[in-house]
């Protein structure tokens, strides 16, 4: 990228799509600006006052057809911008249900902690394969941050107290900026790092590198450490639900609602169990873990709970040479 290229590097499928939309808007805006500037210049010169005592020109009070034309026509063009932009937005913020490679990111003043299901942990570095949908699960330990990768044209705020997600498919191997885009205090502008996009084979090799136990194993440890196991596995009195096959499936709650157990649901079930109580079980049995487990630990627990649900049936093969999923 030259200094004066108006586009940053393009390294994901979304980058291409967003740039196309941007180009469309640049053209429309360019035409509109040229039109207005031309009229102002042209009128200013053509109708300049030549003689101080020229009589005032005849008044023109307006024109209804013109007013309608220049309200409706621009609005129609805006509808195109709206629809195109909204479609892409939904696409980028709705991860595919299956076959994503999930990466867990925790923002903390002023660093990004990145964890992989296989157990690698990095700080301010992230590795992703090309040709495979990658889903980010974003959590914050303190204030609001925003996980921004300009080369992918994507960001999302990282909001404490909730999980946010987005997904992308990288296309070009290389190293690109990760930046924090939401002001978060003193070292906000240093809260950045790099995402390394790798060919699938290289990525596979990288993933196989040394780890301190997979995220699942770490999660399992915490599951024992916090005593979850005593209720959810060894409890024989039926006071507590089994966590087998919970993740990814609908859960019926005692108020009659049905929710799908995603990351946010599991998080809430741990931190604030009484918010959504499973049908047939009682309030106030499961302890409230709010403030006791770190955001990273929570993510590990979630990966463990996920591993208790067998992988969802694959809905068709992805064309890209996906690396073998790590054995669950």
């Amino acid at each position: 990228m030259g200094v004066f290229s108006i586009f940053p590097p393009r390294a994901s499928t979304t980058a291409v799509q967003v740039d196309a939309l941007y180009t469309f808007l640049l053209i429309v805006a360019g035409i509109m600006t040229a039109l207005i500037f031309f009229c102002v210049f042209f009128f200013a010169v053509r109708y300049r006052r030549k003689n101080q005592d020229d009589p005032a020109p005849k008044a023109i009070h307006g024109s209804l057809p013109l007013e309608i034309a220049w309200s409706v026509f621009p609005f129609l063009i805006m509808l195109v911008m709206f629809a195109w932009g909204a479609k892409l937005y939904f696409q980028n913020y709705t991860p595919p249900l299956h076959d994503t490679f999930d990466i867990y990111v925790t923002g903390k003043q002023w660093m990004w902690k990145v964890q992989y299901p296989t157990g690698q942990r990095e700080i301010n570095e992230m590795h992703v394969p090309t040709g495979r949908p990658v889903k980010l699960i974003l959590a914050s330990e303190d204030v609001i941050h925003s996980f921004y990768i300009p080369a992918f044209r994507l960001k999302h705020d990282v909001v404490p107290g909730s999980y946010q997600t987005y997904w992308f498919e990288a296309t070009e191997p290389g190293r690109y900026h990760i930046l924090c885009a939401e002001y978060c205090g003193t070292n906000h502008s240093d809260m950045g790092g790099w995402v390394t996009v790798m060919k699938p084979n290289d990525f596979e090799r990288w993933l196989a590198g040394d780890t301190g136990g997979s995220m699942r194993e770490q999660g399992e440890k915490l599951f024992q450490q916090y005593g979850c196991v005593t209720c959810h596995v060894t409890d024989r009195e039926g006071r507590c639900p089994s966590l087998l096959n919970v993740f990814g499936n609908p859960v019926v709650l005692d108020d009659g609602r049905t929710v799908v157990a995603d990351e946010a649901y599991v998080r809430e079930s741990i931190l604030n169990p009484n918010a959504k109580v499973v049908k047939g079980y009682k309030h106030d049995i499961m302890p409230v873990f709010q403030g006791q487990i770190s955001e990273e630990g929570l993510l590990q627990l979630i990966v463990y709970v996920k591993s208790l649900s067998p992988p969802a049936p694959r809905s068709g093969k992805s064309a890209a040479p996906a690396p073998k999923a790590n054995p669950k």
């Binding site: 300049r48 020109p57 609005f75 932009g85 978060c184």
Partner: protein, 544 residues
Amino acid sequence: MSTYLPFARTEARTNYLNADYGWKSWLFTTDHKRIALLYLFSITAFFFVGGAFAVGMRVNLLTPEGIFAHDTYNKLFTMHGIIMVFFFLVPSIPATLGNFLVPLMIGARDLAFPRINLLSWYLYMIGGAIALTAIVKGGVDTGWTFYAPFSSTYSNTHVILTAIGVFVSGFSSILTGLNFIVTIHTMRAPGMTWGRLPLFVWGHYATSLIQVLGTPVIAITLVLLGLERVLHAGIFDPAVGGDPVLFQHLFWFYSHPAVYIMILPGMAVISEIIPCFSRKALFGYTFVAISSIAIAVLGFLVWGHHLFVAGQSMYASMVFSLLSFLVAIPSAIKVFNWTATMYKGSISYETPMLYAFGFIGLFTIGGLTGLFLATLAIDVHVTDTYFVIAHFHYIMVGGMVMAYLGGIHFWFPKISGRMYPEGWARFAALIVFVGFNLTFFPQFILGYQGMPRRYAHYPPEFQVLNVMSTAGASILAVGYLLPIIYLGWAWRKGPKAPQNPWNAKGLEWEQSPTPPPTYNFETQPVVTEPAYNYSGESEEVGIG
């Protein structure tokens, strides 16, 4: 209506400036014109304080590693934003030109509540003094947006004191709005129907509606923020059960309409200048008037476009996106009508008109880039980058400040009774235009390339564009200092102004002496013709 008064009457006549002397006659005045001048001097002071912070920021950004410590830089942009938004732009045109001209334009002796008008100024000054105290004591570093939970829990700077300053000055804004609304409803001269109101007055009417309806919301939000910070009430901080996104909803519910407080009065000024220097009635009067009201109403429905990446529901984002496009229509209508007014006009290039040209150009760019931001997938990439910074500076500085300067020059003879030096003024207008574009255009490119806002340090590839921007800022600074010098000179030494130096239409020029006497008119004005009747048509004409 007669268009001139004998020259001699402007000489040695008592007017609002020489009616009384001494500081008490100013600090306890209830004359809307004197209060306008009190505001003029105080907001100019705030403008230069805010500007000084901006200079600091631009200097820091000359190199990727920066010059100041992080915390210093963070305080600079926070205090720049707070001063410029709450203590300069919100009061700027309404409190000075609006205060001075609304009564004159509708043919009234004063505003409806002259003492409340004075109270507004005192509240503004008290709020400003509190904010300045916070700055002197070490400043604040939350950004002008005060996002929780950073502001409520993590920042250890003077958040509460600053919030109190903003809170107090908010009441000044509410009272000014209220005063205008009542004045415009009840004190119009005989014959000044709604359809004959100058668009300056329509614009201020719309602005006042927003001030009265919106400002209480920011006041409450700041109170909640204070409760959270002091008592940990659990409103915004998730660690104690609050919702940080709720803060953003509340904040922008005021602050989006507030951005229209910061542009409608500018549009109002432009709607006066263009007909005067084209010697022609404004094209589409009704549409321009209605579009001000449409902006004020629709402006309350689009706050969520500041939360597209903040975690609000995607369906909400979709609705806010669509409504944001809708709110762009009335702005576009205004631009088209101003341009059409010049068609077949008789155009001259005095300084106010140069500012009006500048306004149209820069507002067009600012508005069009608003469409980029309203487009969801593009906003995801450019929100919280320099693209947003450039967008709103094109409107608020390129638009509003240009309109403000244009208006100050246009009514300078009316206010001071003197003429300013035209050559210097044109030169300064040119400098402002060039400096402005050099400062802010590179920021659009920086933003799309991915440079986030509020960065004390930045990746080295962004340096060239940042240096350009800083260079532009130094030119812009000269452009803003010049008028202070030559207007200050002209105020004392400039040639005496005739009553109506521009041959402009409007009660303030045609029926009130220059400078006006304390009660504005020597006889009760009566209005017999529509606004901007430059061609002197005798009959009432259907508009539209």
